[in-house]
């Protein structure tokens, strides 16, 4: 056992490292053996080392404002989160299955709409979705790759069961931090890496590149792939540059691209114009093409939708795929898996109440103080109500909001998220975590080994978003003797 974990309180949550106060879980056993006698202040030293490395590498996420930019260093906790490789194998099959179904669904939405005709989902969900794009009707994509890159958030409840909390299909971010976290951990705990069998994460950029290349609409041997960024003022700019660099492709801004009358996309190079075949875009639909969407957008490329519809360029993720990134649609994913794939879901959804349904709404309104209520279309943990922590006024406010616009709200039971030992002021203490793996779907499917573990650094808090005081941890998929 770890000396530094004496008096570690388990509090009835599922702890990712400890099975009982005296026993580590199998995935953490080797780690505990290596760090057995490590005193708390050595952990603090490692933490300091990690923070220095992060400052030097300039791993930051940026909050830009009129008053100039605030470069915040990436918050990182040095104690890793471990998952057993055998379990991960099952999770990753489940994630691939899910994304396959979601992509079939998106193509269906813009074509036959079979799932609605079969009466499995009400068509009204699409009619009222703010991310449904009529401009995408009739489009059929190579490999069905609408959401070619997906970041799904996983949580584990008190019984140790894994659920999907949401699927981020628009422009999911965070993967560069997963890669950087690993680089930092290798610096601060090199011996542990040598001794443990931890699956590597660094093949992601190459997998991403080969997936993007597989999307090329013509059969050219060497497609030109670019990453389209809104520019340095975007908080994820660091990641855009990181991925472009790792893939060895150009990082372009909207003004670098233009669409000519032949409907091809070109980039402005020092030796003239060069054709672009695949665009990994990191800007929202609304800003992508001022000819079609927001006319005031200076970030986009006029004519881009025209080029895409003409099949002259592939865009990942495809325009309009946000239609499946909606918490009401989420509730139907298990049904989609059965409908499109004829399979049973390998990972379950968190039980979800749709406020649009009379019965479920009544239940939600009756049990508001016990539930988490989320708007259907927000991300980043904004605009949600955590029932057990809400004031009477907040509860009343949400009751009214739900009644005014039931389609826009869903509710879920408050989850007892699992915990991981985390460096706090004087001790290693349990803090709640979630996990965002990244899933790719092109010619082949791919899931990262682990993903980005986000941790709520505040005691008792369940909010893990980095924009709201969350931190991150390296995630180790550990091959134990059992899994071999």
């Amino acid at each position: 056992m770890l000396k530094s974990l004496e008096n570690y309180p388990l509090n009835g949550f599922y702890d990712e490292a400890l099975a009982t106060p005296d026993h580590p879980r199998p995935a953490a056993a080797e780690l505990f053996k290596r760090l057995e006698d490590t005193p708390f202040d050595s952990f603090q030293e490692m933490q300091k080392g990690a923070e220095t490395a992060i400052a030097q590498l300039g791993i930051s996420f940026t909050v830009y404002s009129d008053k100039g930019n605030i470069d915040r260093l990436w918050p990182f906790d040095v104690f890793p989160r471990t998952i057993e490789a055998g379990e991960w194998q099952k999770i990753s099959s489940g994630l691939k299955q899910r994304l396959r179904a979601l992509n079939r669904f998106i193509e269906d939405v813009y074509n036959e709409q079979a799932i609605f005709k079969a009466g499995i989902m009400p068509l009204q969900i699409i009619a009222s979705s703010k991310d449904y794009r009529p401009e995408c009707q009739g489009m059929q994509l190579k490999h069905n790759a609408w959401a070619a890159i997906c970041g799904s958030d996983l949580v584990r409840d008190a019984a140790g069961k894994i659920y999907v909390l949401e699927d981020n299909l628009r422009v999911p971010s965070g993967v560069s931090y997963m890669l950087e976290n690993r680089a930092v951990m290798k610096q601060v705990m090199p011996e542990v890496f040598r001794d443990l069998n931890i699956l590597p994460v660094n093949q992601y950029p190459l997998q991403l590149l080969s997936m993007l290349r597989s999307l090329c609409t013509s059969d050219c041997a060497d497609p030109e792939v670019v990453v389209l960024t809104p520019g340095i003022y975007n908080s994820a700019y660091y990641e855009h540059a990181y991925l472009a660099h790792e893939m060895g492709v150009e990082l372009v801004e909207g003004s670098d691209l233009l669409v000519l009358s032949d409907n091809y996309v070109y980039m402005r190079n020092i030796d003239g114009l060069k054709r672009v075949d695949v665009i990994y875009r990191r800007i929202d639909d609304a800003f992508m093409d001022p000819e079609v969407f927001r006319a005031d957008s200076t970030l986009g490329v006029p004519g881009l939708m025209r080029a895409w519809r003409a099949g002259k360029v592939a865009i990942a993720n495809a325009p309009g795929c946000g239609v499946a990134d909606d918490k009401v649609v989420y509730a139907y994913v298990p049904e989609m898996i059965r409908f499109y794939l004829g399979e049973e879901p390998l990972i379950e959804n968190v039980p979800t109440y749709l406020c649009d349904r009379q019965e479920e709404r009544d239940y939600v309104l009756e049990h508001l103080a016990e539930l988490v209520v989320k708007p259907a279309n927000e991300s980043g943990g904004y605009g949600l109500l955590i029932g057990p922590r809400a004031t009477a006024a907040e509860l009343a406010d949400f009751r009214q909001r739900i009644l005014n616009n039931p389609r826009n709200y869903i509710a879920q039971p408050t989850l007892n998220l699992s915990t991981v030992p985390t460096l706090c002021e004087a001790n290693l203490e349990p803090r709640h975590v979630d996990l965002r793996p990244f899933i790719l779907q092109g010619e082949k499917s791919f899931v990262t080994a682990g993903g980005l573990t986000r941790v709520a650094l505040q005691k008792g808090s369940l909010v893990v978003n980095s924009s709201q005081g969350g931190g991150s941890k390296d995630t180790w998929i550990v091959v134990t003797e059992e899994s071999i």
Binding site: L57, I232, Y242, H245, E250, L258, L260, R268, L273
Partner: protein, 314 residues
């Protein structure tokens, strides 16, 4: 290569070169103050004049041209766009937006330097700590250039980096000579002993761009202003002479697309510089240097026409 990216790496190299040159300037100036006799008037303000920012200086500090004010303005003042820390900030912003095409170390190198200077900028106030920090900055800039030339392919990115470095370097050399020339012209040396200090001054100038040793190898006689001037403008072998910088630009530009106009312009400037020379201490020299600066500026403009913002048929 993207036009926008070419422009940013070009400026990245210019800013790094500027950081290094500014650090050298401040360091050598501080040392010179210790060597010159009390009777020789030597002001800190000369440093501000070199960078052509007198107006901005007086807006901030009025007429108080003290060592502390001049050093702060030149090194640590973020509101002075030509200060060392501003140049470093701009270098960092440019590298941040081009890190995808540069070696990974390039970013961490400049970022670390920026964090260091930002954390220790109070060191600029005191001579003792200032020199140590300046030496560290110079070393870091040299290591940066060395790292790039040692790890990068000889590709367009590298050529634009070199273009930026060479143009900035040539420009800085004209400003240095100008400072020396002005200073000599303004001095009333009272006797032969003090006249000897003009060679101290030229030696200091040479040192400020690490040219002293190479000058010594080329000229074994006593240091004279005329020789220094010839060396720094026309020498074909010294890495910081204007002619050498132009030769280098000529050497690398044929590999860039559509570079004929640049080759012609640089060649012509090279010929003109080889034929003309101002006289030390005369107003003619100042005009001559001013003209070179304007020509370099025109070459900078040409880069925009050819590569950074060409008119394209859309």
């Amino acid at each position: 290569m993207l036009s926008r990216v070419a422009e940013r790496v070009y400026w990245l190299a210019r800013y790094v070169e500027r950081v290094e040159n500014t650090a050298r300037l401040a360091k050598v100036h501080t040392q010179l103050m210790l060597d010159l006799p009390k009777s020789v008037q030597m002001s800190w303000f000369g440093l501000v004049q070199i960078t052509g920012n007198e107006d901005q200086f007086s807006q901030h500090y009025g007429q108080v041209r003290s060592e502390q004010n001049c050093m702060h303005f030149l090194l640590a003042d973020r509101s002075n766009s030509a200060s060392l820390i501003s140049s470093l900030w701009w270098a960092r912003e440019n590298i941040r937006t081009t890190r995808d095409i540069l070696p990974r170390e390039a970013w961490s190198h400049i970022n670390e330097l920026y964090l260091l200077v930002k954390a220790q900028q109070s060191d600029f106030a005191e001579r003792k700590t200032r020199n140590a920090l300046l030496s560290q900055i110079i070393q870091a800039c040299q290591a940066f250039s060395g790292m790039l030339s040692g790890t990068m392919s000889n590709n367009d990115t590298y050529r634009f980096l070199k273009l930026g470095m060479l143009i900035e370097r040539a420009d800085m050399t004209t400003r240095l000579i100008d400072e020396g020339g002005l200073f000599v012209a303004q001095q009333q040396f009272n006797n032969e002993d003090e006249a000897h200090f003009s060679s101290v001054l030229w030696a200091h100038l040479l040192r400020s761009i690490s040219a002293y040793f190479m000058y010594r190898l080329a000229y074994q006689t006593e240091i004279s202003g005329e020789d220094v001037l010839t060396f720094l403008t026309q020498d074909r072998h010294f890495a910081r002479s204007i002619s050498f910088c132009l030769d280098e630009i000529l050497r690398l530009s044929p590999a860039l697309p559509n570079s004929l106009a640049l080759q012609k312009a640089v060649q012509q400037l090279g010929w003109q510089i080889a034929q003309q020379q101002g006289k030390i201490g005369s107003s003619e020299l100042h005009l001559h240097l001013d003209w070179i600066q304007r020509e370099l500026c025109a070459i900078n403009g040409l880069l925009y026409q050819l590569w950074f913002a060409p008119k394209q048929v859309a």
